[in-house]
Amino acid sequence: MNAMLTGLLTAVLTQRWVVLAFAALLAVAGGRAWLQLPIDAFPDISPTQVKIILKAPGMTAEEVERLVTRPLELALQGIPQQRLLRSTSKYAIADLTVDFVEGTPIDWARQQVINRLSETRAELPGGLEGGVAPMSTPLSDVLMFTVDSPTLDLRERRQILQRQIRPALRGVPGVADVNLLGGDALVLNIAPDLLALQSAGLTLEELARQIEQQNQNQGAGRLDLGTEAITVRIEGQRQQTEAVEALSVRGSNGQRYRLTELASVSIDRQERYGAVTHNGQGEAVQGLVIALRGTNTGELIRAVQQQLQTLQPMLPADVHINVFYNRQQLIDTAVGTVEEALGLAVLFVVLVLVLFLGNVRAALLVAVNLPLAALATFLLMRYAGMSANLMSLGGLVIAIGMLVDSSVVVVENTLDRLATPRPLPKLHIILQAVKEVSLPVISGTLIVVIVFLPLLTLDGLEGKLFIPVALTIVFALLSSLVLSLTLLPALCGWLLHPAAEQHPHWFSLLQRGYAAMLERVLAHWRRFVVSLVLLFALSLLAFSQLGRTFMPTLDEGDIMLQIEKIPTISLDASIALDQRIEAELLAKVPEIEQIVARTGSDEIGMDPMGLNETDLFMQLKPVRQWRQPDKAVLEAEIRQVLQQFPGVNFGFTQPIDMRVSEMLTGARGDVAIKIFGPDLAVLADLAAKTAAIVSQEAGAVDTQTAVTAGSKLLNIRLNDAATDLYSIDSAKLAQQVRSSLAGIEVGQMMDGEWPLPLLLRQRHEVSTETLAQLPLLLDGGVQTTLGTVAEIKRIDGPVAISRENGSRFALVRTNVAGRDLVGFVGAIEQQLAAKLPLPAGYRLVFGGQFENQQRAAGRLLLVVPLSLGLIFLLLLATFRDSKKALLVLSNIPFALTGGIFGLFISGEYLSVPASVGFIALMGVAVLNGVVMISHFEDQWRAGMPLGHLVRAGALRRLRPVLMTAATALLGLLPLLFVSGPGSELQRPLAVVVISGLFSATVVTLFLMPGAYQWLMHNNKARK
């Protein structure tokens, strides 16, 4: 190893120009990589997941569960690599989600599900529509806009969106689709006159059949014309309303009728399953740009905005595209937060270097490592297929303080060697200086790298968030190490000269103070060790009192509300309620810029919400315009407004957070309590009682149960007498009734390039009271009413049935405020065990963020000791002495003491970011210990007396130890003060490392010398 290092350093110092050239190449390649890196706000946290959405017209939730969901679950359960299978059965919708284990290729997973679905399709009821849902991630929704116009109505605006804007945006590379929400979908409504049909001897079915048959284009084959071939086709499809009106219909008596004689034809709107409202001032039309998985979001949004600008002149003059959500803003803010922290960190680090080294040239030499290591990191990120986002760039910010450690040690030692006048070649002195510290620097860096390895084993959401952090730190540290041992010695050869080193005056004073304090510590060694042990014990006590949580919620800037109304609410009533809520919010909360709310289903079918479900998006004004710059205060005000509306369940979320929760567990919230069992009524009762108990617990906020019961149906059943008397069956009855409500599709008319559905739909007002009087036209021209042939009954049923891994469950969810998550769950676990005994066959499971916390904590408890073991082996290889290896490791518990007190005093919880901070702290503590003990060992081997080497050695290492601590500390200081997305994740980490560095430095400077002296005395005595 020594020979290899000598060889490398000799080559570097001999071929300095080559090294410089490589560094320049690295800078260029790194800069290019930065420009090519996909940029987004967050890493892609979507699991490998495949969704099936099937529409089952006319089926109740229970029928959907029995006939569609359960057979499908049975078929899907055998797929390998499956982690979780959950489903929701609602009226006419079956929604199944299959989660696969981490690392399963998405294409393979989708194919498996598609295969199973095809195999099972024959067993499922006929008439099902839909299948595997489009591939999406929580980051897919990148841009949302409304199409506004003071003069155009809802239909016209939807048409503009559908026929002009959507096709233009779908052509932009990276756009998967553009979803349409709200507005009226147009149809050409054919409203039959039953009397006219009766006199023509036609039924509705016959009319529908004739319209469909006549309104078709079909290919007939091919004819040869000489050497050419000509296609023959039959044209029947109508292209204008007049042409449809003129369709010829043959009556039962053979007479021909124009369609207008039997029905009225007009443009109308399709039955709606969703709507969009805007600022409480009426309905709106919304477009949602969906990005392809893995796209460079920043580039995509710019291209989409460019396209919208190009499109604007072609739209009617008063049409305005109102973008109310643009992911680019979050990206800019998130990246801006990191850039701000990075910039400040670099500035602080350079100041520290100048202050300690007293030599601007040397300080700049060390600082050169920073941008080059960052550029090398970007290059490695590009090769690793990573994106630049809050987490990966956050890792770089965390690493900034540690990046300079290796270069500080190298340059500092070189300065020290050059300061002693010796008649030796300068390059030789530099070689010796670098060689002296290269092994400790390498092992120190590898130790810090190993310390971060446990993060690479994290699973789930925390893995997707923190693996980029760990990888970036590892890339940055390794890059810095290589540069410290190659470029830096080469630059030292040019820029540093033998000169008497002048320590800054303040540092000389510090040295004298340290020497005196060290003397006192060594003189009262036992007392010092006892105090440290007592402090450690106290910190363990503080640790036991620390609250535990998973991680702070990333602030995306905007606020969303997920609102649930009574299950039977009509679309119009739902829209009216949404508008009242919007108006009230805008009046009471001036921080809201605008509100766009979406109720019910979207066109593509990616998010089949019910008519009673609304996602309400609030675009906020810039923070500087708020009355108080505190989102929690804002949420409290919004909560007060919503509480004025009884019967409305609501919960706060954010755009990406909402998608993540839906993808990960299907349940949003800090704590999701799932009650598993067979009976829906029992489950609903248990859920209500659980919610009541949980809401009483301190810290519970927005506690609610998912609405499962309360669906009302009008069930129509043919009389036995009717089937005997009339030529009617259930299928014909369904068609007759449908023709009065939703309508029957009888083909399409081409409206220019666009197909317009033809809908056979009677025009009469139908209500629950008048339904029995609904006229029916049966075979043979018989006209009767619905009440005559069928029994109409109102029945109640479940709104939705949720299942997980084949078992039904009811959900209670709650958020936690002002209290740690783990403590809260512990308390409610006790309460529920005492107050809510579960019947046989029922069980309770805690999920949500709590589940994530348990998983992350369990994994870290397992792998951190493993990495400590690896570090021990590395130390053993460095020192070849297990006692010295243990001596360095003993730095760790005392270093952690400071971190624990820091968390305790600041009131922060122990979370995943804080745990990452402890991991970083362990690395820095061990690194400093290695630097100190290595130097002692060198002096011992050189024959220096023990007492002298400990004092002189500690004094000699004072500056590099203080510098590495100061650079690490100041590198992280900006994270305490920046605000914006991501800062809430990095603050706990910064608190731990900064406070821990104080105790780690004390331990290195005072414990290590004394402990080494004690160890070597003991060894000597034993010999």
């Binding site: 030796l424 081997r941 024959g943 010999k1023």
Partner: protein, 112 residues
């Protein structure tokens, strides 16, 4: 016949230090003005004093050392030894002085 250039009577100063002190020893020698040059090679040594060897060296049975050989005049050799005695590494250094019967090098043919 090849002419050889004869030198005045000299001693061979042999220094043996542990490999870990080789660089330090080389640095010291390079700074002593009377040292015009030296050769250095890696050697293995054995000692019956087990405490002189690390555990790994005890396992191997031999110690990794570095040997320096300097051709000096007798007075010069004493200057070098005095200088080395003041260094920290002197406690780990073994030296031998031996008489050199003859030494020299061959001149290039053109010079003859």
């Amino acid at each position: 016949m090849v002419n050889a250039q004869q030198q005045s009577p000299q001693v061979m100063l042999t220094l043996i230090v542990p490999q870990s002190l080789a660089d330090a020893c080389a640095d010291v020698l390079m700074q002593i003005p009377v040292v015009q040059g030296f050769t250095q090679d890696a050697v293995l040594g054995f000692s019956r004093r087990p405490s002189a060897m690390s555990t790994a060296e005890q396992v191997a049975g031999r110690q990794a050392n570095s040997r320096f050989q300097l051709l000096l005049g007798e007075d010069e050799a004493q200057i070098v030894l005095a200088n080395l005695a003041q260094q920290q590494l002197s406690g780990r250094l073994h030296y031998e002085l031996s008489a050199v019967l003859a030494h020299g090098h061959y001149l290039p043919a053109e010079v003859r």
